[in-house]
Symmetry: C2
Subunit: 388 residues, 2 copies
């Protein structure tokens, strides 16, 4: 009898909340639970215009806000203590957000959590017209493996994730090319799978025969000499990610996985900070890589001035022919809504490439800013051109 | 100059908060940041007695609580708007917790998140005397791979994680035995790695030659016929996890991984609900498994009455000799501080085994309740006995 009473009691609680929710969601037909929610969570929701509606049970709070896209939207409380609030229409794609409860910035208890802005926080998926390319489809799926390793260079534990395509598991002999793919600032090695859906993008591309089956490795772009982390956080340190990647990660991947371990079968790309980092890495290691992708970033960032190829990056772009001969693909991408200084900074870099007669592919993601849909689309386009 | 000003401004903000924190943490020497925190987060902290101290910046909140171990601890606010609160001493090991802010139950923005109690929430790691066995040590590490699959039985996307030991990657030929390992109620397929540290436990055991190298597969124990999910949540449905495991997961694992695909090299275990589930599965599929582990649970749960082997589980334990001949290991474990009905329920089950002359191994985890340290220790003990 006790347990029955508990069930009835809990049932009442839930129906009270549900009824309360229904009051404010008469337009449930257009508002739908976000794909980025935890299993079974009704809120947050997104409507056809890309408006986001969040909800939080906080009966004794005096002020609750939805903090999304750089703007704070006041939420309102109903009699049951449930706060609900709605944003302006958002761009298509993935956005970080948080809730503010009486001055506390907190993750929304209903969303899944994503590492960005230097912490695990909430994310909201606004459906995009072209979302099929990164959706979970009935196609053969690869796997994503977490690999923990101790770095002798940083004297610390580090981690990378490895995407292996479905065909990797069809036999124990085939070898595969590898793309090293880096996140942006204040993100980490989880970003390209959790926010970027890199695994699903490749699963879909490969199933349609639009990309060669490949391995993707995502590592953490923050790497410091022992004792140097604090200095680097103050902007005084120097990342040794290039060393970690070249001396530790690549040899480890080539040992653990059936890779094609030469430059002709190795690509490197990154987004924002990662684009900047990987451009430096590729130009200093042309014996290791034959393909480069820079998503929303170039190594002249944040500078927008005309670039002198004789001095920029120690003259790495001085000899255009040599760059053309070495790199089978030099790829740059940008969203059409990216803020300053990205358009002008990338523009100055492109002008330098033009001046030097360096071949490159340039892609623009329609109606997206410095956010993950730009990078998902960039990956889709870039990956389809690799290892051809 | 602008960026310099910003740095100075941010510096002031942080030192204000830091100073405020220092006021309340004069005993920082005994309180240390928890291992379960997000990178770089100072709070929550744990001291030598297992007291947990949490912190939240919520300047306008009127009531903030630390909600841990079934008890709510009032937190207090300092002048800077920072709330701090401290719990009673906790058991060693991992505990779920949350913060309550003016009536809202929220994840602590500083902790990592773990799926338990039906949602992603905060967790706190209280150091244990024997923590070395699940610590990240300088030993060869295996990998944990996420595998997404479509189930034709549930007509839904599902996911499992596969631990492969370090030696799996030493060549492309060796084959390995497999342990299928299940989570508890309101947890999911992520639990055994995120909370249970199953990968680190096996890495450590294997490095010390205390366990045979093995593959571990963790799937989701909730599986329903299409359209039946709602019925099951009301307690009316029937889980078809056994079908999914036997007909879909095991064949998939045997295809994708280099397994030893016979009963002599296949074990199954689970915790709490998972112990109950996997006991039913093993006894109905003795042609598929030769080893069973029940961590804090048996299939008579929640019953504590004397068990009649002639009727219990359709007489599966009626013939003790047959069970002894078929199962190379029948393993049961329990924490010494487990609440009712676990001790009596497992006790009744053991008494039945004794009566039937069925051999089993029984392990007790000292000073732990129905929580993850009990199950980490259970896995350590159980895994060391497998495939011998």
């Amino acid at each position: 009898m006790l347990s029955k009473n508990i069930i009835v009691f809990v049932g009442c609680l839930f129906s009270q909340i549900c009824l309360a929710q229904t009051d404010q969601t008469s337009d449930l037909k257009t508002f739908r639970s976000a794909e980025s929610n935890q299993p079974g969570k009704l809120f947050p929701q997104v409507n056809n215009e890309g408006k986001v509606r969040a909800s939080l049970y906080a009966p004794n709070a005096s002020k609750v806000q939805l903090d999304l896209g750089g703007k704070k939207y006041e939420m309102t409380k109903n009699e049951a203590g449930l706060w609900t609030g709605e944003s302006d229409p958002q761009d298509e794609g993935f956005h970080y957000y948080q809730l503010n409860v009486d001055g506390a910035s907190i993750p929304d208890p209903n969303s899944r959590y994503f590492y960005g802005a230097g912490r695990l926080g909430s994310g909201i998926e606004v459906p995009a017209d072209d979302e099929a390319f990164y959706a979970l489809q009935k196609v053969p799926h690869g796997m994503v493996s977490e690999n923990i390793y101790y770095s002798d260079l940083t004297k610390s534990w580090r981690r990378c994730f490895i995407y292996t395509p479905a065909s990797y598991y069809e036999n124990n002999k085939s070898r595969f090319p590898v793309l090293y793919l880096q996140h942006g600032s204040f993100e980490d090695e989880t970003g390209w799978v959790n926010q970027g859906k890199a695994n699903l993008i490749l699963d879909n591309l490969i199933a349609q025969n639009k990309a060669k089956p490949m391995i993707i490795v995502t590592d953490n772009g923050y790497a410091f000499k022992p004792g140097d982390k604090e200095a680097t956080q103050k902007g005084q340190g120097v990342s040794i990610f290039e060393d970690v990647l070249i001396k530790e990660v690549i040899p480890m991947i080539d040992k653990r996985f059936r890779t094609l371990a030469d430059r002709e079968h190795r690509a490197i790309a990154g987004l924002s900070m990662g684009a900047n980092q990987t451009m430096r890495i590729v130009m200093r290691n042309l014996d290791k890589f034959a393909y480069y992708g820079g998503f929303s970033g170039t190594s002249n960032y944040p500078n927008t001035d005309v670039i002198d190829p004789n001095v920029f990056m120690d003259g790495k772009f001085k000899n255009g022919n040599e760059v053309n001969n070495k790199l089978k693909l030099f790829w740059l991408g940008l969203g059409t809504k990216e803020p300053a200084p990205f358009p002008k900074s990338v523009g100055a870099f492109k002008a330098m490439l033009d001046q030097q007669g360096i071949s490159y592919t340039y892609y623009e993601s329609p109606k997206t800013a410095h956010e993950w849909l730009t990078w998902r689309r960039s990956l889709q386009n870039f990956a389809s051109l690799l290892f051809r």
